[in-house]
């Protein structure tokens, strides 16, 4: 948690001044009943109109000053909590972007987004409440009790019993109901989940005419939710009646014992009224306190989550790396005995040895989980190899500054994604000062030029979040173009042509071959053997191991896995089946 205090320290002044002013307001509030008692006991008893008016003036003055103090405190609290939250967001945003993929995998993107949004908001709210209420409410409880003691010590035992009793009731009910709330929230989430599931599968549900079954499932969930909410509602409904029962009975006790004291002249009527007033103040403050406690415990949990994220260090660092000089005539990429395993799993890549030369086109093929994407994630150093070495232009990639390393690469990931802005702003990602001509060229190679030119604003066409105003195929082509601007030395395409129709796919592969600078190294992952047929080298992966490296024709002869993949895509099931039989017989 200490990593969060750092950012609070800046607001030391706010954190001290805010509560002090809040205390001032509370003190004024506590004086009010005393003044009122004076009006009754002195003013009315002595029939002193001037005194009454004077005390009335004091009351107004107290509320004006109290208002001023409260406003100042609210101002300070808002400045401090918002400022703190804003800085925390900036720091965390920067921090998350610096984390390597291993850490991102560990937390999960959606969990990071929640931490970022709701947790920071919760912490921010906690800070504000800390200033505004956390000190005021207990102070009012204690202050009211103390004032009562000062006023007439003999009656204070009623206060000393009442306040803890109310606190106990609050504690008991809240500790019973709080855990159930999270459970109920989950039940509510379940309702939403079923609704979403039903809408996602609306065609299947109707195809099987299973509306009734869905309805039953849904009604079970809503019923479950309603029952448990109603059950817990019965308990939490006790909160107000019980606290007020205790407070009201305490007032009755004040009347009862007060009556005796007044009879013997130990207490005045005005003082009794003041007691009653204090009692009401205590009850209100306790209710506020209970709510603040709930809020603060939530904020504390959020703060711990944010702090945990902030404390996570990136496992990949380029600190102290100066720009490196490439070794001449060395392979563009060279894997030497490379093994890699994701944290908590077995080896995803085992003992990979391959040299890829400048200008080569290399295909990678294999089933899901065979390690294709893993290889690609190692090249920009998203992950560090577990064993062996990965060299680019003859230099171990751990010696590169990340910026120098990554600027050599044009990456097109499997999930094509654009970012909000314009087509042009997306195209400038690799090279900020690229000219329009360079962009057009990249768009043409990526087969995106025509549809971009048909847009109203051409390359200035707005792009919405994640590029959702473009179709899947358009997004893929634009994300390919983005990676090509500024002629990267290495182009990596991770199965990124799946949404393209056949003709476009073909044209794109042709353009990649002919229109990029001759020494551009291209690495292409694909599921389709036909797409890789013309590659200089095809790496066939099977469960993390290299099953074969070579050209298409060689592999067909030598590599069983490759042949199987190729055949499955070319022939009908019977042909495959009968061939298998033949093979089996031969064996």
């Amino acid at each position: 948690m200490s990593n969060l205090y750092k950012y609070l320290k800046k607001y030391k002044k706010h954190l001290i001044l805010g509560p002090i002013f809040k205390l001032l307001e509370a003190i004024f509030e506590l004086i009010v009943p005393i003044v009122m008692a004076k009006i009754i006991d002195v003013g009315i008893a002595n029939e002193d109109i001037n005194y009454i008016l004077k005390m009335g003036g004091v009351l107004v003055l107290l509320s004006v000053v109290g208002l001023g103090a409260a406003l100042f405190c609210q101002y300070v609290a808002s400045r401090c909590s918002q400022g703190f939250g804003t800085e925390l967001r900036n720091v965390l945003f920067h921090h998350i972007n610096s984390l390597s993929m291993s850490e991102i995998d560990k937390f999960g993107t959606s969990s990071m987004i929640t931490r970022f949004n709701s947790d920071i908001n919760q912490v921010q709210l906690g800070v504000a409440m800390l200033i505004r209420l956390a000190i005021r409410a207990p102070f009012l409880v204690i202050g009211a009790t103390v004032s009562a003691i000062i006023l007439k010590p003999s009656m204070c035992w009623i206060f000393l019993i009442t306040a803890p009793l109310v606190a106990l009731v609050l504690y008991l009910i809240m500790s019973k109901t709080m855990p159930v709330y999270t459970k109920n929230q989950r039940k509510l989430d379940k309702i939403t989940a079923i609704a979403r599931e039903d809408l996602n599968g609306v065609r299947v549900v109707r195809a099987f005419t299973e509306q009734e079954r869905e309805q039953n499932r849904f009604e079970q969930a809503t019923d479950d939710h309603a029952k448990s909410v109603i059950a817990i509602g019965r308990i939490s409904a006790l909160l107000n009646p019980l606290t007020f029962l205790i407070i009201d009975l305490a007032i009755v006790a004040l009347l009862y014992f007060g009556a005796h004291k007044i009879n013997t002249g130990l207490l005045t009527q005005g003082e009794l009224i003041a007691f009653i007033n204090y009692m009401t103040q205590i009850s209100l403050a306790l209710v506020v306190l209970a709510n603040v406690m709930v809020l603060l415990s939530k904020s504390y949990a959020s703060a711990k989550r944010v702090s945990g994220l902030l404390a996570t260090q990136s496992s990949i660092s380029d600190e102290g790396n100066a720009d490196v000089q490439e070794v001449e005539n060395s392979p563009a990429i060279s894997f030497k005995n490379v093994s890699f395993g994701y944290s908590g799993g077995g080896m995803a890549i085992k003992d990979l040895n391959v040299d890829i030369y400048k200008g080569e086109t290399v295909g990678i093929i294999g089933g899901t989980g065979s390690g294709k994407s893993t290889i690609i994630n190692l090249i920009p150093r998203f992950y560090d190899v577990s064993q062996g070495e990965l060299l680019i232009d003859g230099v171990n990639i751990k010696e590169y500054p990340l910026k120098q390393l990554r600027s050599k690469i044009g990456l097109v990931p499997q999930q094509s994604m654009l970012f909000r802005g314009t087509i042009k702003s997306n195209m400038l990602w690799r090279k900020e000062d690229a000219s329009d001509e360079e962009i057009y060229r990249a768009l043409k190679i990526a087969q995106a030029y025509d549809f971009v030119m048909q847009k109203k604003d051409k390359i200035d066409e707005p792009v919405q979040q994640k590029g959702k105003n473009f179709s899947g195929g358009q997004r893929q082509r634009l994300s390919i173009a983005r990676a090509l601007v500024g002629d990267p030395q290495i182009v990596i395409l991770d199965d990124s042509m799946s949404a393209l129709d056949f003709a476009t796919d073909l044209a794109l592969r042709k353009a990649l071959n002919s229109d990029l600078p001759k020494d551009t190294t291209k690495i292409i992952i694909s599921q389709r053997a036909t797409s890789l047929k013309n590659a200089d080298k095809i790496i066939v992966l099977d469960k993390g191991e290299v099953a074969g490296i070579g050209k298409h024709d060689e592999l067909l002869q030598t590599c069983e896995v490759y042949k199987e993949i190729y055949d499955s895509q070319q022939k009908t099931p019977q042909e495959n089946a009968s061939e298998k039989e033949v093979n089996n017989e031969e064996k």
Binding site: L59, S63, A77, N97, V204, V252, G265, T530
Partner: protein, 582 residues
């Protein structure tokens, strides 16, 4: 206003089955308001009999007993108020939810397809929550709040009209202050909410594209953009927090003024000891207690009113969805019995949008057991054809008949039962594998299910799970691979033995071995059944009797593989680019 009222009435009509609860909560509200008004009065009376050195104990105790009785009754009624309102609320909410869900499942797909999914879900979840919080609970709060105010003023007038008048005159001040601040803070709240939405959208985008940010070294640029948005959020966040935080101190201030005025004016009045409207100390204390609890309902009511407003808006959205027209009832239609697997499309025309024809004059005669491949680039309208066959949409012109019967003349259920459909996007629900396979036949025995899974090539991988067929699938089956999901969907069909099939081959990345299994399963299931396949694999396409080549929503070529190749048209082009060397 009229609209608001009818929405309210409609909403209240949902509470009808729970009228007893409603009555209990209204009575409880009245009792607890009465008690909260009478307690200060009784306390005041008790104090009145406590003159210094001369306390009338008999009278004081009398009032104390009355007070205790009242407090107990008041506490109980407060509990029944909250508990019964709660019960009423959530039972009503459950019923609205159930009705809404049932309604959604009867809406035409045309509506659902055109609606944002998130929007429909919001109505079924957060909008209904809004209604439960705002309208139903707010209603009783509003009721008891108004009651308290009226009763307090009445009591004040009963005790002393001058003090009452003072309170009545100062009331508008409190209302004015509260509404002034609420109005101000409302716009800043909205501003903050939209800025927050902006930021969370941006953050989601950036975090999702984390690998791209790093690959393109965009960390600094993003941080700059973010800092700018964050700064905006700081500005409006500060404003809205500060304005929001003004309400409490300000109303407290007004409250204090009322309190002071009542105290001073009450004291002055009590000095006119001889006047008939005189005020004794006990009554003054009662007035002070009233003054203290009087402003509370005002604060609550201002809060409740905004809640109610947004609840009315939410319920209007819910009712709008409920008022959408359902699919035409087909209760009186025939059921399609013993479907023979023949299918005719006669001059079929279809358009999603009135002025943009998509399919025109499509004729197709499918014999029993024929296999039809549908080929074409993405977005060419393949799914439209599925929509028409399954009668998810109705044709605009011409007709489709199955077994010689127009599909519009039979029930949707019986028509759809005669089709087995496997979509590219495999749909699984949260439940066991067994339940998922038995989706179309809930009473299937485990043996039948295993048999179906075996036919679909799914048994092997299911058998490897520790819980086998009882393995729980997470939402949308995320713990299975794409291919495994599709195998389960095929197993589903194997269980129901439909005479006709609609298969949608996956384009997405499925590893080759699973893909082979899927192809084999497809092959097995197609035996003897009339089948429509949206195909991407040459192997599948070559298997089919008729190939429909679609482009831009039209069927531009039709024939078998050899015929189409010979005609050297669009299919020929497709074939060459996809399956031959580049």
């Amino acid at each position: 206003m009229k609209k608001n009222r009818s929405t309210l009435f409609r909403l209240v009509s949902y509470t009808k089955p729970y009228a007893p609860l409603l009555i209990i909560s209204l009575i409880s509200a009245m009792v607890s308001v009465a008690v909260s008004i009478l307690v200060p009065l009784m306390t005041g009376h008790a104090i009145n009999y406590m003159l210094e050195g001369n306390v009338d104990f008999k009278k004081v105790f009398e009032y104390i007993y009355i007070l205790i009785a009242m407090i107990v009754v008041g506490s109980i009624s407060q509990w029944t108020l909250t508990a019964s309102t709660n019960s009423l609320t959530f039972k009503t909410v459950r019923n609205i939810r159930n009705q809404l869900f049932e309604h959604i499942n009867k809406l035409p797909l045309k509506f659902i397809d055109n609606q944002q999914q998130g929007d429909i879900i919001a109505r079924i979840s957060s909008d209904i929550d809004q209604v439960s919080e705002g309208l139903l609970q707010g209603f009783t709060q509003l009721f008891s709040g108004v009651m308290t105010i009226i009763a307090t003023i009445a009591m004040l007038f009963y005790i002393n009209w001058i003090v009452a008048l003072v309170v009545l005159l100062l009331t508008p001040l409190s209302l004015f202050v509260a509404s002034f601040i609420t109005k101000r803070s409302h716009s800043t709240f909205a501003e903050q909410a939209s800025q927050r939405g902006e930021i969370s959208g941006y953050v989601e985008e950036i975090f999702t594209g984390h690998n791209l940010i790093q690959a393109f070294c965009r960390e600094e640029n993003c941080a700059e953009d973010f800092a700018q948005m964050n700064d905006e959020l700081y500005k409006c966040g500060f404003k809205s927090q500060f304005y929001g935080a003004l309400i409490n101190p300000c109303t407290r201030f007004v409250n204090n003024l009322v309190y002071a005025s009542v105290g001073v004016i009450g004291a002055l009045i009590s000095l006119w000891a001889n006047s008939p409207k005189s005020l004794d100390v006990g009554n003054l204390s009662t007035c002070l207690m009233y003054a203290n609890q009087y402003t509370k309902p005002f604060n609550e009511i201002t809060g409740v009113i905004t809640e109610i407003q947004s609840a009315v808006a939410a319920s209007r959205r819910i009712f709008a969805l409920l008022d959408e027209k359902q699919e035409e009832s087909d209760e009186d239609s025939d059921t399609l019995k013993e479907c023979d697997g023949t299918l005719d499309l006669d001059k079929v025309g279809f358009r999603y949008v009135a002025d943009r024809p998509l399919i025109e004059n499509l004729n197709l005669n499918v014999k029993k057991g024929q296999k039809i491949a549908i080929v074409g680039p993405t977005g060419c309208g393949k799914t439209t054809l599925i929509n028409l066959l399954m009668r998810f949409y109705d044709v605009t012109d011409g007709s489709i008949s199955v077994s010689g019967k127009d599909v519009r003349s039979v029930t949707r259920a019986s028509l759809r039962d005669s089709f087995g459909m496997v979509l590219q996007e495999s749909w699984l629900f949260e439940g066991t594998i067994r339940d998922n396979i038995a989706y179309g036949k809930a009473d299937a025995s485990l043996e039948e299910i295993i048999e179906a899974a075996k036919l679909a090539n799914a048994h092997d991988f299911i058998d490897k799970f520790p819980d086998k067929y009882d393995t729980m699938l997470t939402e949308n089956g995320d713990n299975l691979s794409q291919g495994q999901k599709q195998l389960l969907c095929i197993a589903r069909i194997m269980l129901t033995h439909p005479p006709m099939l609609i298969l949608d081959e996956a384009t997405s990345s499925i590893d080759t071995r699973t893909e082979m299994k899927i192809q084999q399963a497809f092959y097995t299931i197609m035996q003897g059944r009339t089948s429509f396949v949206v195909a991407h694999r040459l192997s599948t396409i070559r298997e089919c009797d008729v190939i429909l080549v679609m482009k831009d929503g039209n069927i531009i070529e039709q024939g078998n593989h050899e015929q189409l190749l010979a005609s050297r048209g669009f299919y020929y082009q497709l074939y060459n680019s996809q399956f031959q060397n580049s």
